[in-house]
């Protein structure tokens, strides 16, 4: 297969930095081709890559895991804005460009420019990747929120940081709350391995014909991006099949089909804008596409949730991202104290595992939802999903924010308080649902 691939021609070969004059390619000598290994990569099917290819375990940072995922994902364009506080991810993708694994790479003006350029590149039909964090996510959110409506497949990684002043450099995943309502698919990685898998699988799910949507892969920055963990990876001589632009739900940009076509179409147009009903239908279709991605998430990612010891457990701890890692330890401490606690990790935040949670939570008496943000966006989604399907008391907490670590003992405390009725140290009563106090319940429901 690799013989059939044409020799690569750069559309913008790097020129002399001072004169911008093109630099003559080095004379053919015995020197090793820096792109040599990348050229030898062969395409394999997604199924082979994910389910059959042998893997080797390495001890790497989350940023390195993202780099290795992109190396194996046949990415055409990566665009960086190296904001601080971010992570080394986009710098490492630059290394991949140097090695020929990514075809085009440049630094944007800022995040608005980066996210807009990703839109253009994806519309042109190529596979795109970018990463940002915290304030960068919010600066880029206007174009990000427009990606789903334009039906643009791409993978964006969000290494969550604090967004509100004063800035901090450790994680607080409040920015995910903003991404949840864009119409994009959102996964939340617990560790380096998740980050690696979700990025690669994200490309494949994103480009499915009946999905054709961007995928956001979020992780809690610093704890995942800067820390090392074990990551099992396929051999780097393999890559995913290239994006087939003509499989998408909408036509890609070409000279015969100008992108302005949509707004020039008479039935779609009312005055200078789309008719409201057409726009309404368009939004419905975006969210219907989010729904249709469920089957692919089930197939490639073993489901929207991971559940452990749920059967027969009175107590469930539900978490995503780094809070899931802490929750695994909380379950262990609960067991040592003689409390049987089950654990549910939510891999996919959009689409949200509504039916899964309704089934898993049906018999629970207490649900504790620890989060690395102030507002408790996950608890609100869980409570809304299971309302009427579970009689469990739901504790929207404990919460840490501003970059604090979450002591595992905090989660165990909430389990004990929830079971005994003892007053919690950290979770206000207004964040505990299902207790007999209707005023506190009303207060919480008001904020949903």
């Amino acid at each position: 297969m690799s013989e059939a691939v044409e020799a690569e021609v750069k559309t913008n070969p790097q020129g002399d930095p001072v004169s911008s004059a093109p630099v003559a390619p080095p004379a053919a000598s015995g020197r090793k081709d820096p792109h040599g290994d990348a050229k030898k990569q062969r395409e394999v099917t997604a199924d082979h890559m994910f389910f059959e290819a042998p893997r080797e375990r390495e001890f790497i940072t989350g940023s390195e895991a993202a780099k290795e995922a992109v190396r194996r994902s046949n990415v055409d364009v990566a665009i960086a804005y190296p904001i601080t506080p971010q992570s080394e991810t986009m710098q490492l993708i630059g290394v991949l460009y140097g090695e020929g694994y990514v075809k085009e790479y440049y630094r944007g003006e800022e995040e608005y420019g980066v996210m807009s350029a990703i839109a253009g590149a994806s519309r042109a039909g190529v596979r795109c990747f970018t990463a940002t964090a915290g304030p960068g996510t919010l600066r880029g959110i206007e174009p990000i929120a427009s990606w789903p409506g334009h039906r643009l497949p791409a993978v964006a990684m969000f290494t969550c940081r604090v967004v509100n002043a004063p800035l901090a450099i450790q994680p607080d995943n409040i920015e995910i709350a903003y991404l949840l309502n864009c119409g994009m698919i959102v996964f939340h990685a617990e560790n380096q391995q998740d980050l690696f898998d979700y990025i690669m699988k994200g490309f494949i799910i994103s480009e499915k014909n009946d999905v054709t949507l961007p995928v956001g892969v979020a992780c809690d920055g610093f704890f995942v991006t800067h820390a090392r963990g074990y990551c099992s990876m396929q051999d780097r001589s393999m890559k995913l099949p290239a994006r087939d632009p003509y499989r998408g739900a909408v036509p890609v940009l070409d000279a015969e089909n100008p992108p302005a076509r949509l707004s020039r179409d008479a039935p779609v147009q009312k005055s200078n804008f789309m008719a409201y009903n057409i726009h309404g239908v368009w939004q419905q279709e975006v969210w219907a596409a989010v729904e249709r991605s469920r089957k692919y998430i089930d197939y490639y990612m073993e489901g929207l949730v991971e559940a452990q010891n749920v059967e027969g457990a009175d107590v469930l701890i539900i978490a995503s991202g780094s809070a899931a890692a802490q929750s695994r330890e909380a379950v262990r401490l609960c067991t040592e104290k003689g409390i049987q606690a089950g654990f549910i990790k939510i891999r996919s935040l959009r689409p949200f595992p509504t039916n899964e949670l309704r089934q898993l939570c049906a018999k629970a008496k207490l649900i504790v939802i620890p989060e690395f943000n102030y507002v408790g966006w996950l608890a609100k989604d869980v409570a809304t999903a299971i309302y009427g399907f579970s009689k469990a008391k739901v504790v929207a907490g404990p919460h840490v924010y501003g970059g604090m670590s979450m002591p595992v003992e905090m989660i165990v405390d909430e389990v004990e308080c929830g079971l005994t009725g003892k007053k919690s140290h950290t979770v206000p009563e207004s964040h505990i649902m299902g207790t007999v106090d209707p005023a506190a319940m009303a207060q919480f429901m008001k904020s949903i």
Binding site: Q326, R328, S405, E409
Partner: protein, 238 residues
């Protein structure tokens, strides 16, 4: 049942707190256990507060971030307590019931009455190790203070052994190298010049590790039903 110790190490810049945590963590892994470390410090300068968090277990560790409620705290420099040079004040904040505090000081320190009462209520075991003195006596310099702390905690927890610690020290100075930062790399080269040869450096470091291990054993910190080393053995046998 998982054996699990969360260890908070506090010291000051230049003492090798992060290096010590890395060596101890590696030594636990060398001895067949599981371990993770999380260093925490501000600007890199001598005598500025440094904390490093080490989790050790015989089972996989998922937990991340700083350790707020440690089983063990290690104070590398008395000024952490006397000058409050720490991100955590008082130094025993968050220590679990029946926890251990290993403090580098020549003999017991006196705390104010409130602190005495709180430590008593926690039933905390306070072990005062003359780590800097051991380093001076055995290696002829104070830069192996961290080795003394690491040797003593190895004996106290029973989760590693002298051989695994020796391999970890050699890895640190001869292996691929774990470069924490530019500042640490610069300090490494200073240390190396002072010891003339790396082998001499390793030998002296290991001698300090051994001296502190023996000190902990001789003082009964590893003996008795309540000792962590014994609990580790009991759990391992059960």
């Amino acid at each position: 049942m998982a054996i699990r110790y969360n260890i908070r190490m506090a010291g000051v810049g230049g003492q090798g707190v992060v290096t010590g945590s890395h060596i101890f963590s590696t030594a636990v892994i060398n001895a067949g256990g599981e371990s993770t470390i999380v260093p925490f410090y501000g600007s890199e300068k001598r005598m500025a507060p440094v904390e490093s968090y080490v989790r050790v277990s015989n089972e996989p560790i998922y937990e991340i971030g700083e350790i707020t409620f440690p089983h063990i705290i290690m104070i590398y420099h008395p000024q952490v307590i006397t000058h409050g040079k720490s991100y955590t004040n008082p130094f025993y904040f968050g220590l679990k019931q029946n926890g251990v505090a290993l403090i580098n000081n020549n003999g017991p320190m006196k705390f104010d009455s409130d602190q005495e009462a709180e430590l008593k209520a926690l039933n905390a075991k306070l072990y005062f190790l003359p780590a800097t003195q051991l380093s001076l006596d055995v290696a002829g310099m104070d830069l192996a203070t961290n080795m003394a702390m690491v040797g003593a905690i190895g004996a106290i927890t029973g989760l590693t052994n002298l051989e695994a610690l020796g391999t970890a020290v050699k890895d640190r100075f001869l292996g691929k190298g774990f470069v924490v930062s530019g500042g640490t790399a610069a300090l490494d080269s200073v240390v190396e010049r002072k010891f003339k040869k790396k082998q001499e450096l390793i030998d002296k470091n290991l001698a300090v590790v051994k001296a502190a291990w023996d000190y902990a054993v001789e003082n009964g910190w590893t003996a008795g039903a309540s000792s962590m080393a014994d609990q580790t053995k009991a759990k391992a046998m059960a």
